[in-house]
């Protein structure tokens, strides 16, 4: 049992993916989100941090298990096996019990909509539909056939197609609006049901998508209307949630990471190649299997660097004796990486795995984890032509500046300092 006991109470949670504390403040000052403002006035609102590595898959895994990545065993949206086969971890790969299993065991009436890393959806008694990375709304993405029927009737969609923004920005806006409205409609319909939920959690991925593809434009004052309009509608939705549940409802809003303007994508595998730590024997576009024996390090998004140790990796050559000196050498060099034109330092923090991760999967954690400076998004494209590149995305995740807002009856949850603690304390509140 990972969660504590206490007097069980109901909880309604909304997870706004990548919604920064500083943006919440701005939206309230500007009068764009009056309903959020009311909630913040009545309750407690604070900055929290994300988890390392700072991607939604890991952050929401931390939320639903209340644990750190070395305990639940997932370090990114993709991971590498020792034979350099890339794989996509999903809910079945989480090695800790989740809040959903606890709620199910406790016979609670609960719903979870769209939380990342809940695919395939566990077949629990609650109303569950998976979020990112469920390929489509089908029987594997729901806890039961009844849930699927209900959501299809509501024209619910899991996510937008993230390749659309680069190809057709106008269609992206339409898609985001449609998916977002359907998500809100479904949530309101479920919240309006006669039987009260012991725990209801809605995850909104649309905020993250908006920020990835429209952050810089909005920050620069271009196309601000679309950005503001999105948040006005989100605020209307919050208003409807409050009027459905009543002012005294135990409502919690949280985000899993912050966001900032993306200036450059930094291709760490290019850097490793430039520095002579990584070589390919085949065309690198062919994937990680193209890595040549003799290579000493490789990177995965975001900022994960793996040292190819003998005995741990199929082509690993770094001996135990060489490991620490090599890691120190890499860390020292990473701290000196700067952009050639701006002179900006790229790496805010360069950390060893043992500083961050503790648990049965600590061996599988990246040997070095880099937290970048704002504006420099750490990527890992194999065969990238340049160290600094531009892509279609204009916003990037930050470890700092996530947010938590809780109603005044939820001061126990307000003690949380990061997204994993939010999950742990939320579970403690309900169970």
């Amino acid at each position: 049992m990972i969660f504590g006991f206490g007097k069980p109470k109901r909880l309604i949670g909304i997870g706004l993916d990548g919604f920064p504390y500083s943006l919440a403040e701005k939206l309230m000052y500007e009068g764009i989100m009056p309903n959020l403002h009311k909630l913040a006035e009545r309750g407690e609102m604070k900055r929290i941090t994300s988890v390392y590595p700072t991607v939604s898959g890991v952050a929401w895994s931390a939320f639903q298990t209340g644990r750190n990545p070395a305990e639940f065993g997932v370090f990114g949206f993709v991971d590498l096996r020792p034979d350099f086969e890339l794989y996509i971890p999903n809910h079945d790969d989480l090695t800790c019990e989740t809040i959903w299993q606890h709620l199910d065991n406790a016979g609670k009436h609960f719903a979870s909509l769209g939380v990342p890393m809940t695919y395939p959806a566990p077949k629990v008694s609650g109303f569950m539909v998976s979020g990112f990375l469920a390929p489509q709304l089908d029987e594997r993405a729901v806890s039961s056939q009844g849930v699927l029927d209900q959501l299809q009737g509501m024209k619910y969609e899991i996510d937008i197609d993230p390749s659309t923004p680069a190809q057709d920005p106008e269609r992206f806006k339409e898609d985001l609006k449609r998916v977002s409205e359907a998500r809100q409609r479904a949530a309101l319909s479920l919240l309006g049901q006669e039987q009260e939920w012991d725990f209801f959690f809605l995850h909104v991925m649309d905020t993250d998508r908006l920020h990835h593809f429209a952050w810089h434009e909005a920050a620069a004052g271009r196309d601000l209307a679309f950005f503001w309009d999105f948040y006005k509608k989100l605020d209307d939705f919050l208003g409807k949630v409050v009027s459905t549940l009543g002012d005294e409802a135990n409502l919690m809003l949280c985000s899993d990471h912050g966001f900032c303007t993306l200036k450059w994508e930094v291709q760490l595998n290019r850097w490793l190649k430039n520095q002579g730590y990584l070589e390919y024997e085949n065309a690198p576009q062919m994937g990680y299997k193209a890595i040549k024996e003799g290579s000493r390090a490789v990177s995965l998004v975001p900022g994960r660097i793996y040292i190819l140790r003998e005995g741990q990796w199929d082509k690993g050559v770094v001996t135990d004796k060489e490991y620490e000196p090599l890691r120190k050498e890499l860390m020292d060099k990473l701290r000196t990486v700067t952009h050639p034109e701006t002179g900006d330092v790229v790496c805010k923090q360069v950390m060893k795995k043992e500083e961050l991760f503790e648990g049965p999967h600590a061996d599988a954690a990246p040997d070095i984890l880099v937290d970048p400076c704002d504006g420099y998004d750490l990527k890992a494209k194999l065969g990238a032509g340049h160290l600094f590149e531009k892509g279609p995305r204009t916003g990037m995740h930050t470890y700092e500046n996530a947010m938590l807002l809780v109603g005044r009856n939820l001061s126990g949850i307000a003690a949380a300092g990061n997204i994993a603690e939010v999950g742990r304390l939320a579970a403690k509140h309900v169970l």
Partner: protein, 267 residues
């Protein structure tokens, strides 16, 4: 009229309609059970000689039994065979074991077909897909337009009510025609049994396993089975709860997921 004859009639009607509607028609033939059934239906539709080419997309990774079966059928039925192949990608060594599988599929299948359509100027292609194969295929129509990027807008399709088909589209589209859409897996096997169709030996069990769906060697997993004849396969289908494409589903799902991750910059 019995069930199989009704299915056959409807398919032949769609095949003939397509031939008369489109200037340049071709058919995709993977040499699997469905598209081989479609070849057979096309022969019936035109009394023994198919008046358009059959296209085989060669990824270079197919089972040797597939190439042998293809050549045997071409000779026996006098087919006008076009082999579509992305030689440039094959020369670069593109394959499922050297990189991401979606890239491999895109280059060796999709691009090869795009090039083939461009070279031969096909207005429409016949394909042997069925509605019951996969959830997304349930949304297909008999006549389904695709744009130049092969995009399919499934929310904006002609309804095809009461057997009224829309078999025309704008110039920038080619039409995919699906004469077997209404068949089920079990219908195909019953038809193969009734018509005594030749069938690829890979479908029959060897050492306790058989292939239920054929594709490239590295991406197909055989299912556990002792069915070594059409009769035994039919009996197996009666009781099986395993999806037909189970041996290939995860791979496709991962490929789709990776495409999303790439668009978001996580790969």
């Amino acid at each position: 009229m019995d069930h199989l004859s009704e299915l056959e009639n409807r398919s032949i009607y769609i095949i003939r309609e397509s031939y008369h509607q489109f200037g340049r028609l071709g058919m995709l033939w993977s040499v699997g059970k469905d598209s081989t059934t479609l070849v057979w239906l096309c022969r019936k539709a035109f009394f023994g000689r198919i008046p358009f080419p059959v296209i085989y997309i060669d990824t270079g990774r197919h089972f040797p039994e597939m190439y042998a079966f293809r050549d045997e059928c071409v000779e026996r039925w006098g087919l006008d065979l076009i082999v579509a192949r992305n030689d440039e990608a094959l020369a670069r060594g593109v394959g499922p074991d050297t990189g991401e599988k979606l890239t491999c599929c895109t280059l060796l299948k999709t691009q090869a077909l795009k090039d083939c359509i461009a070279v031969h100027g096909f207005d429409a292609l016949l394909l042997g897909i069925r509605r019951d194969e996969h959830g997304i295929r349930a949304k297909e129509r008999y006549f389904s337009p695709r744009d130049r990027q092969f995009q399919w807008d499934y929310e904006n399709q002609p309804p095809e009510l009461w057997d009224q088909y829309t078999s025309q589209a704008d110039d920038e589209f080619h039409i995919r025609v699906h004469p077997l859409l209404h068949w089920r897996e079990v219908d195909i096997w019953r038809y193969i049994q009734r018509e005594e169709l030749p069938i690829n030996p890979l479908y029959f069990a060897r050492d306790g396993r058989r292939y239920r769906s054929l594709g490239c060697m590295p991406c197909c997993e055989p299912v556990v089975s002792d069915a070594s004849s059409v009769e035994e396969i039919l009996e197996e289908l009666r009781t099986s709860k395993i999806a037909e494409r189970a041996g290939r589903a995860q791979d496709k799902e991962d490929a789709y997921t990776m495409q999303k991750l790439r668009a978001l910059g996580y790969m």
